[in-house]
Each structure stands twice: as C-alpha cells, then as structure tokens.
Amino acid sequence: MKNFIKLFSIIVLFFFTFTQSQSAEKVDYLKTDWSFKGLFGKFDRGSLQRGYQVYTEVCASCHSMKYLSYRNLGEKGGPEFSEAEVKAIAASFEVIDGPNADGEMFERPAKLSDKFVMPYENVKAAQAANGGAYPPDMSVLVKARGGGVDYIYSLLQGYEDAPAGMTLDEGVHYNKYMYGNKIRMSAPLSDDLIEYGDGTKATVEQMSKDVTTFLMWAAEPHLESRHQMGFKAIIYLIILTILVYFSMKKIWSRVESEV
C-alpha cells in the first residue's frame, strides 16, 4: 500500500506540474467568485438570466451564438426561464423559413427549436460591418480562450487609455488583457448601459460577471449535471476501491507475500 500511495502521488504531481507549466505565462486576471467552480459548482440562476439580458441587448448586435437554440434557455441547469418567457423571447426574433408550397422563402417568428438568430448572414458580412475584424461566435468562446472565464471577465473591464508612446490605428482600442493589447471591439459596457429587470445595479463589473457566467453556461450547458454526476461517480469509486482493497488483503493473506 505504501508503494501504491507513492505511485499515486507521482501521477498527481506529474499532472500538477504539467498544468502549471502550461499556464506559466499567465497574466494576472481580475478575480471574482464564480459560483460554478468547485466540486459542487452550480450556476447562479439570477446571474445567468441577467447575463442573457446583457448578451441579447449588447453583445448580440455583433456576436452570434449559433450552436444554441432558444429552447436551451428554459432547460434545466441553464437560465431556466419559464416556458412562456422562452416562447416570448423566441417570438421576438424573425427567422427565414421555407420554401413554402409556392417555392418562396418567408419570414416567421422564431420557435423554441430554432437556433439563435445570427446578427450577420455570414463571416464576410460581419467583417464588412466591423472594419475587417470578425466578432467571434460566442457559443464556446469561454473554452476557446486560454484564461477562460477570468480572461473574458477581465477583458470586458480592461479598457484603458493607451500608454504614452503607443499609437493605435483608427478603430483600434487599448485593452490591457487582450493579446498584444490591441482590440477592434470598443469598450462594450458602461455603467447603467442597460436596466436589469430584477433591479440589480448595472455596473460594468456586475454586467461583466453576469455575461461571463452566461457565456460559461453557453459553452458548457451540462456543467451542473457533470458536477453532480462526477461527485456520485467518485464517491462510488472510492467505496468500491476500499471494498476491493480489503478483499485483496484477505485473498493475499493466503500467501506469504506483501501486497
């Protein structure tokens, strides 16, 4: 058993070193308490709903979220809007459907099963409208950036005047958390930019936190059930391991050898 603990700790140490080395050049991001971290991490329902509001009122004018459907907004583990709310949200968007019996395409209000409507028809149109830069799709954005949620959270609050001596091209902004510090997107948030339905004060910090939480859910819609199942699975494995350990001791006691 002594050998085993040794071996086990080597493996853990190895992965620890590896993950540390990967994040060696990590920038110091702004920190906040994320409710979805840790063994029992869950999303803060209110934050998710507010985050959706920030996304739809601010981000969605440029950023698509093409892998999500409106029905997701009402599903368990997400913002959990009521069915009526989700239907109303969906109906406020127009989608192109068809062809109908006459062979014509037509517009209709979105249904629960429709994917989020994209702000631009294609990448080229998005680039043309944004000075050549493509606003990335936000469906898995949190997972597609090295710093994850901390990075997005910091970036939204990282707009500053460029340091003396640094010249920025027209339409480029300084952000201390952006790779290379130059970003095409102008500061998207300002205090009281939107009015939260639940009365929470819409500071930049609050909105950054809410929208980042929403983006985390968008990227990992099954995060809550993953954490719940993980805890059960690991507890089950630990109990089984203990039982097997004692069975092993019993069986090996028949021979003169150490296990």
């Binding site: 993950t19 080395s21 997972k143 597609a144 494995l237 391991t241 097997v244 092993m248 021979v255 150490e258």
Partner: protein, 420 residues
C-alpha cells in the same frame, strides 16, 4: 502454455473443448502462474487493456453522431456536447481517455526499462509493444484532427508536412496524404477512416503481446527466471485479478476527476475555435504525450534530419534488447544503471517541457542537450554499461529475499528497494 492438461468435467464442455479449446484457454488464463512479488508498476498492463476497451466503446458511440466533413465536423462535435444524451460524458471520456492511455503506457514502458523486461527471452513482447505504441501515436494524432478545430487543422498541417522533408518524392507524398493541395475535406475523411481502423489493429496486437507474454511468463522485480508453477508463483486468478482491479479503480478515480472536473485542462483552448486555413495560431503545439518527440524534432536545425531524429528516437527502442548488453535484468541489482535510468526519466520530462515552450534561446539549447543525451543513453551508455558495471549478487529465487534468511547484507538491502 499451461503445464498440465485440462479436461472439462461436463460432457458438453468436453465435446465443445475437443472441437474448439476455448475452455482450455480460459483455464490457462485463470491458472496462469504469475510471480508473487509483482509490484504495482505491473498493474498497468491491465489498466492499458481497460483504456483500449474504453476508447473503442466510447469511440464507436461518438462515431454514430460525428460527421466527418470539413464543414460539419466542428458543429457535429458541438451537437454531441449539447444535444446527444450524455454526449458530453462520452466525448470527455474519449478525449481524456487518450491522455490516460498515454499516461499508463509511459508508466508501462518505463517499468519495462527499469526491470529489464525487454531482455531475452521477451524481445518479441517488447517489439510488439513498440509497434502498439507507434500505432497509438498515429491514432491519437488523427483523433485530435477530427474535431476540426484550429489545433486539429494546424497540427495536421505541421505533421503531414514533415513528409515533405523526404528528398525527391516528399512533396508528392504530402499531396497524396492530403488527397489535395492542402489539408482539407479529403484529409479529414481519410483520417477518420484510419482513426477508426487503428484501434482494432492495436487490439489484435495486444492479443499477440499477451500471447507472447504467456510463453516465457512475467518478468518480476527481482528479474530472475523462476520455476512455474512453484512457491514463487500465484495463479493469475484471483490474486492478480484482484490486485489489478484495485489498481484500476485507483486509476479510474484520477480518470474520473479529469472527466468530471477538468475535462479541458489537458487540451488546447485553440481547438474550440473552428479550423480556419487563413489564420495560423500563435503557437502550434501537439498534445502533451507527443511533446518529447516534438522537442527532438525541433532541436535539429535541418528539417529532414529532424524528422530522422524524431523517428529514430522511437525506433531505437525496438533494438533496445540488443543495445543493452547487461545480462542482469532488474535495475535493483545494477547500481549504475539505476542512476542512469533516473537521469533518462528526467531527460524525457525535460524534453517534454521544452516541447511545450517556443523553440528559441535557452529553451532550444536545453532541448538540444537533452536530445543529445537521449541518444547517448541508448547508443553509448547502455552498451558500455553492460561490460563495465559491477552488479550486485542476485538471489536464486523470489522466496529467498522475500522470506529473508539470506546471509548477504547487500541482498537484505535489495529487499527493501524491491519493496519500494
């Protein structure tokens, strides 16, 4: 095979067994005499079998939902993650399963290096193992391409481009591999086909690996030949089965932790960006398990020689049984080899670290020294050591050092290091 003839007791069993001796095989597998002093480093064979089966089962399930098309692959992976029932679980097991598989195989290989398991009469087991390892790398590389993210695309571009280093026909080979003039849909579909095929080849080779193992029987920490069956052995079932099972469960706890709590930590964030041939990522890095070889590749200034060095680093292992001239198997009785062994372990870890860093300045220098040492270990140190090293006296049987009673002090000390 088994030392005694086996006859089924029932009439039906006997009738069947005379025609297809499956029962004899089952009997051989359960009775298989195994050295009783095997330590936990020996449990990784069973763990690897579990990894292979897990990858095949989850892979089959994923293949039912995945679409191998450049325009749809990324989306289909998101479909699996979001809409397929427990698709996220299956995909995370498969993706982290690859890392777990390599973690286990590296422990398995380094165990073999420490205890000299590759030496006569086990050379064939070892060579089959190296072929399995090569196929694993091919399968893992192609599997990483399938989600069609940025790292998939650019990793595929970098690795396939290595073939262009071959003089005269290189460019032609690359075009042939791609099925076009760049990494594109034809590349993806053939990679998917091969990724599906290779695990079954590995499965076949694993059967041969185990078959070849059952001829001479297991090596053991003392590294001596033992009589089978004897006081020194225990039947595979239940002794080894339960011990392997216990180790496997511990392994599964680590595995589960990654799947449920850090499923993306071993991957690269860029692979959640859909492949874009117009945008090159800042750093193109392979998965962690390929990093040491990537470091060797980059430490040679010439492209062709770099590829040769990288391939040699793996293929040199295949001739290891003949490079190691020492008659003694276990490092327990080889004080000098034991030190060089740990230096090699450190060397490979350093190479892995350098593979993740940009190839410039001090990093490149260290990578070059580590590469040189890697080859020095196998080509110079090992052959010379066999002749020069003063080895410790080896015990006559496993029971002897385990039960004590040996008058030799050195041997009593060895007992301790065996236990560790």
């Amino acid at each position: 095979m088994s030392d005694h003839e086996y006859t089924p007791t029932s009439k039906v069993g006997k009738w069947f067994n005379d025609r297809l001796p499956l029962l004899t095989l089952a009997n051989h597998l359960t009775d298989y005499p195994t050295p009783k002093n095997l330590n936990y480093w020996w449990t990784f064979g069973g763990i690897l079998t579990f990894c292979l089966i897990t990858q095949i089962v989850t892979g089959l399930t994923l293949a039912m939902h995945y679409i191998a098309h450049a325009d749809m692959a990324f989306e289909s992976v998101e479909h699996i993650m979001r809409d397929v029932n427990y698709g996220w679980l299956i995909r995370y097991i498969h993706a982290n399963g690859a890392s777990m598989f390599f973690l286990a195989v590296y422990i398995h290989i380094f165990r073999s290096l420490f205890y000299g398991s590759y030496k006569s009469p086990r050379e064939i087991i070892w060579i089959i193992g190296i072929i399995i390892y090569l196929l694993m790398m091919a399968a893992a590389f192609m599997g990483y391409v399938l989600p069609w993210g940025q790292m998939s695309f650019w990793g595929a571009t970098v690795i396939t481009n290595l073939f262009s280093a071959i003089p005269l026909v290189g460019e032609g080979i690359v075009t042939w591999l791609w099925g076009g003039y760049s990494v594109d849909n034809p590349t993806l579909t053939r990679f998917f086909t091969l990724h599906y095929l290779i695990p079954f080849l590995i499965l076949g080779l694993v059967v041969l690996h185990i078959w070849a193992l059952h001829v001479p029987g297991n090596n053991n920490p003392v590294g001596i030949d033992i009589k089978k069956p004897s006081k020194d052995t225990v039947p595979f079932h239940p002794y080894i089965v339960i011990k392997d099972g216990f180790a496997l469960l511990m392994f599964m706890i680590v595995f589960a932790f990654f799947v449920f709590y850090s499923p993306n930590i071993l991957g690269h964030a860029d692979n959640y960006i859909e492949a874009n041939p117009m945008v090159t990522p800042a750093h193109i890095v392979p998965e962690w398990y390929l990093l040491p070889f990537y470091a060797i590749l980059r430490s040679v200034p010439d492209k062709l020689l770099g590829v040769v060095a990288m391939l040699s680093a793996i293929l040199i292992l295949a001739v290891l049984p003949w490079l190691d001239t020492s008659k003694i198997r276990s490092a327990v009785f080889r004080p000098l080899y034991k030190q060089f062994y740990w230096i090699l372990v450190a060397d490979v870890l350093i190479l892995g670290y350098m593979g993740a860093m940009p190839a410039e300045g001090l990093y490149l220098l260290i990578a070059r020294v580590a590469t040189a040492y890697y080859f020095l270990h196998f080509l110079v140190i090992l052959p010379v050591l066999g002749f020069k090293e003063k080895t410790l006296p080896i015990p006559l049987s496993i029971t002897e050092p385990v039960l004590g009673g040996s008058p030799n002090l050195a041997m009593a000390k060895n007992k301790e290091s065996i236990d560790k």
